[in-house]
Assembly symmetry: C2
Homo-oligomer: 315 residues x 2
Amino acid sequence: MVLITDAKVVALAGGVGGAKLVYGLAKLLPPDHFTIVGNVADDFELYGLHISPDLDTVMYTLAGVANPATGWGIKGDTRQMLEMLRAYGEDPWFGLGDRDLATHLLRTEWLRQGMTLSEVTTRLLRGLDVQSWLLPVTDDPLATMVETVEYGVLGFQEYFVRHRWQPTVRRLWFEGAEQARLSDAVRDALGTADVIVMCPSNPVLSIAPLLAVPGMRETLAARRGKCVAVSPFIGGKAVKGPAEKIMREMGLEISPRGLAGYYAGLLDGLVIDEADRDQPSADGVPVLVTNTLMQSSEEKVRLAGEILSWVGSGT
Amino acid sequence: MVLITDAKVVALAGGVGGAKLVYGLAKLLPPDHFTIVGNVADDFELYGLHISPDLDTVMYTLAGVANPATGWGIKGDTRQMLEMLRAYGEDPWFGLGDRDLATHLLRTEWLRQGMTLSEVTTRLLRGLDVQSWLLPVTDDPLATMVETVEYGVLGFQEYFVRHRWQPTVRRLWFEGAEQARLSDAVRDALGTADVIVMCPSNPVLSIAPLLAVPGMRETLAARRGKCVAVSPFIGGKAVKGPAEKIMREMGLEISPRGLAGYYAGLLDGLVIDEADRDQPSADGVPVLVTNTLMQSSEEKVRLAGEILSWVGSGT
């Protein structure tokens, strides 16, 4: 058994849901014992800016500047730039806050100067006085593509933001995945981790792109630590976003059994909500049943602590 | 004599001072009879954005959105992005308003897509419902460089904004001028103009870079119309900015005689302020003495009208 305070923990996280649990974990763990592997497959370019929505959501959450109403963006941010774009006759469909723009401008500038996305992300985090390690799963291009019934193939943000995830998904894939190289830092962190937590992020949109990077599944399969997933569902429904809708469209079961099947071979434990206690259960995978809704900071820290204790006690 | 209402007028303009007279001229002339040739030698790149301060000042003034307190920037604009840059530990020395950013983002994006600066400028103007023609003197790179006593060679905005034009100027030049091609549209406008007005912009910083583009002096010298300059000085002093300081540092005389000498061979008339009536006068160049201070919209239109009438009456 590993003592929690000494454990090296890695979290795999997407956007809003993942960031909540990351916040809790970061409150309990010293920065040098905690690494977050972030999703970059929803990155995109708009008006020449390199935007990394999932990395930003995690970063803003850790920095304590995230907009509490949405979970993404910066609290108190304004939209003057967007309003002016509209005055020019543009139809901007992505919500770029004015303060948020500083992040995109710096990231884009530093990438152009030759820094990797990992280096840029660390520099941005340190700039906001966050000492945690947030590692993009890869520094190479990776892009979630969505084939829809209504509009054909859409880039992820077009599907997600422009069309508000209403189109019916026929197929999903991660462009660039075959060429993408797993970041060495990610490989090292996973290889030495005592605990790996798949955050309650969208399995098919946030965790799947991480698993699609060559070497990621093998690295996880060869883990020396324990890997647990936290279900993003409560009562068979997603707390936020399209996870439930899209998984149904793809014929995936919304249940502990469905999740355990989706992450087959990778899990030493599954954390589910009280409300899903009676759903078809995951055969052979230990389950922690608890309250997984994280609305307050206290709830985030409590859930993080409960997961670490559970894994530390031998699962 | 040319009837003013039929006259084709071209204004050579830099930033704030030039924009004021341009505003007055635009109120009196139909858009297809009025062309502004704009300065691009103070353009620069910041955080990957292509910024054209002089073009923007003229554009915002024509669109009626210029900040009346400064003459540049957009009225009511905010600085959220800049504040966030500071939160990241950056030291931004150029005042980028949030609404202003939309202009820079669009310009940069469209240039990257292969549009010329002329095409971009027209598209931005039309987006703001301005029908005037504002033509960059060239679509090629042109950059004012300033050799200072205190800091050696500075890019223009470093000298002008970062160091607030306090360093002593030893020498000025326009990088790229030898290779820059005079825009065909500018050449055509000047060739068919009945009246050419050198606006009360900084002679050495705003008008000189226009004259430095190969073919510009020859095109002006071969004019069929009349060319008049409006002195930017009142009582031997610049209304705003470094014109007086920098011209003294360069050994140029601040007087009608000094200006006529600086624009030698190009002028059919010079407009000066009442306060400079007794300064050394320009031999052989007709002079209009009037009130050249433009604080209100009415004053801008009145001065523009007076200049057009004076030229139209045979100078």
